[in-house]
Amino acid sequence: MTEFTPGSALAGGLMIGASASLLLNLNGRIAGISGIVAGLFQRDLREVSWRAAFVAGVLLAPLLYSVLFGPLPPVIFDAAVGMIMAAGLLVGFGTRLGSGCTSGHGVCGLSRGSPRSVLATGVFMITAVVTVLITRHLIGQ
């Protein structure tokens, strides 16, 4: 049970989209986090450096947030360790197999009308909703 927060959701979304616009217009690259993180592990240092810088920016965001806006928002987990590890494995493997995640397909891909991203976003939204339906309502917790 969470509160409906359309204002901060829209504001945060605009920042994410502005970030994707910056990276595309300045560096010429797509702000797909799964691809950026996976690409950290390669020998081409030119490719590694901008990715590492992007990830460093993401990692410093909580500090900047707390300086600008005060305490960080709540982060509430409702999963045991086994579930978290299984989910992490599926997210890591699935985003590489499907070439993208919520940012690469869901934001960057949809915004340029890529048919592959439209399909991928539809598929991961459906399987995520069905997964929640099963774990919350059919099996119960």
Partner: protein, 147 residues
């Protein structure tokens, strides 16, 4: 310069994830729980993000080249394959199990919660497993383009 601009973009990206509360798995699961006590907030994240990104794409496309980089590296494949669908399906299941996707998982690391750290370790293992299987299959590896 490429690293500096990427750093700024990453900082803004992370801020957006926190401001929008995408970092809160409870919020994400409430968005995905359409038959329960549905919280549609994250639809507004998608609307804001795709709208702002669409403007950026239009600008980049009309300019043709990025300000600092050599060229626009935009995926141009339009075909559908089992890999795309299967990968997206697996990702969605993992997302729905805990409520974390890769961006929020990374931005959450400094929060110092064991759940976030364990998730990132498992996610990197999943990515590593994919890379290992692919190179075992292909025998050689080529550079990946973001999406």
């Amino acid at each position: 310069m490429l690293a500096l601009s990427a750093f700024a973009a990453g900082l803004l990206f992370g801020l957006g994830l926190i401001v929008s509360q995408m970092v809160n798995p409870a919020k994400v699961l409430a968005f995905l729980d359409v038959t329960g006590s549905w919280d549609p907030s994250l639809a507004f994240v998608m609307v804001g993000a795709t709208a702002a990104s669409a403007i950026g794409y239009a600008v980049a496309n009309s300019r043709g080249i990025p300000v600092l980089g050599d060229r626009l590296e935009i995926p141009n494949r339009r075909d559908f394959d089992a890999r795309l669908i299967g990968g997206a399906a697996l990702f969605g299941i993992g997302w729905g199990l805990v409520g974390l996707c890769p961006g929020p998982a990374v931005v959450m690391l400094p929060f110092g919660l064991w759940q976030g750290s364990a998730f990132v370790v498992a996610m990197l293992a999943g990515m590593g497993l994919f890379a290992a299987l692919r190179s075992a299959k292909a025998g050689s590896s080529s550079r990946e383009v973001g999406v």
